[in-house]
Symmetry: C2
DNA sequence: GTAGTGCATACTGTATGCAGTATGATAGAA
DNA sequence: TTCTATCATACTGCATACAGTATGCACTAC
């Protein structure tokens, strides 16, 4: 498990570590609330503490970790409050980005359909979630606003821990696929209002089940 | 200039450095496009490279710097494109936050008025901009959504370099004060729609002058 | 039995040194 | 003159060592 950083020569070790740690958090290898021991973790990953600390700094900035000076870094807990804060934001940002977009080309629409097919075919929940994210990023990519796309990506990344943990326990959502199809169809028809409405629906449909799961999980 | 980190014992040097560097960027001591020499800068600030590099990592995450592996960190340029990307976002996020808020208490309204007075009285542009930011944060603080407030703060921080650089050369904006008063009045009247409309106006009124200034500046 | 103090220990914070790589200059050939 | 190759130099990347601090436990006093 631990070893084998991807050894991408374009990235320095700090950045590779940040990617690795992100995965470890999503996969539960680093558990919510856990304190990060820099010495142990750096040894387990076969690097020194310096690049590890730089990676930790990055993850703190991403709010995946919290840092208490002179106490260390901790994996952020999943809380009902954070979930409720995160949840409405995509439904605000994504339709706004879609409206900013130029009319999508047939090529873009074909890509969306292709990703949607892949999602349907995907075996494990992790790739399915990942393809869902790719689908939405493709959808909003036409807005030509890197900062907005960055905000969406941030919210998406913070949300992922909730969505992934939930999806692993519940083999959900034929519905998401169907909603995607509706959105694509509306765009083909040039009906932006309808597309945005379906998008909003797509981004709010799984709130209740996740909330129920969260409540059950932490009592 | 350089020395004297605030020596806040609650923060470690990396975090103090991040604050210091942020200021140096806003104040133009570190110029747009400039390459950061870790050795020189750490010596000038009287620290070693390790905490400096951690601070740089943070600023890269905040998009104040860019990082090119094995080449170093660079102060981000101010570009027309980034400005145009940033500009509409506050007008999307802030009204949304305001709508989420509970009806503001008289205490909150009084605080808003007080900050607005301070703004009017402020001598230098830096404190005026800073009070304007404080005013807007106070306005949206009622939404009880830390993530949304975080996004607004991010956009605000990235925007600050544009607003500050512009404001320094143009002793603007009686209008901002007046718009704030309108918003406060609308809230007092319980007219949320009107408040949001004025807020949107307040957040879009200085686009053209800043754009003109930007174009003139970089030819 | 409980509260408080001192000490051992383990961790984070910071400095420093060395290795590897990008860059610019200089020299040589076309 | 211009292009290329080689080398010197200066910087970033990373490891390591040391300093400072938080924490838990034991011991003592009450």
């Amino acid at each position: 498990m631990t070893g084998t950083l991807t050894a991408d020569r374009r990235l320095n070790i700090s950045q590779q570590l940040a990617n690795k740690l992100r995965d470890m958090i999503f996969d539960g290898e680093l558990k919510a609330g856990e304190r990060i021991n820099e010495v142990h973790l750096s040894e387990a990953l076969g690097v020194s503490r310096t690049p590890l600390r730089e990676a930790l700094t990055l993850l703190v900035a991403e709010e995946a970790l919290t840092s208490v000076p002179r106490r260390g870094s901790f994996v952020r807990e999943l809380t009902r409050k954070e979930f409720e804060d995160l949840y409405p934001l995509r439904a605000i940002l994504d339709p706004e980005a879609l409206r900013m977009s130029s009319v999508p080309s047939e090529k873009t629409l074909a890509t969306l359909e292709s990703i949607n097919w892949g999602m349907r075919a995907a075996q494990d929940m992790k790739t399915r979630v990942s393809l869902d994210e790719a689908w939405h990023l493709e959808l909003v990519s036409g807005c030509d606003n890197q900062v907005l796309i960055g905000l969406i990506t941030q919210v998406m990344n913070r949300f992922r821990r909730y969505g992934l943990a939930f999806a692993r326990e519940h083999a959900i959502v034929e519905t998401a696929n169907q909603e995607h199809i509706e959105i694509i169809q509306a765009l083909r028809d040039g009906d932006m209002d309808k597309a945005c409405e379906w998008l909003r629906k797509n981004l709010t449909s799984d709130k209740e089940p996740i909330l129920a799961w969260l409540d059950e999980r932490q009592g």
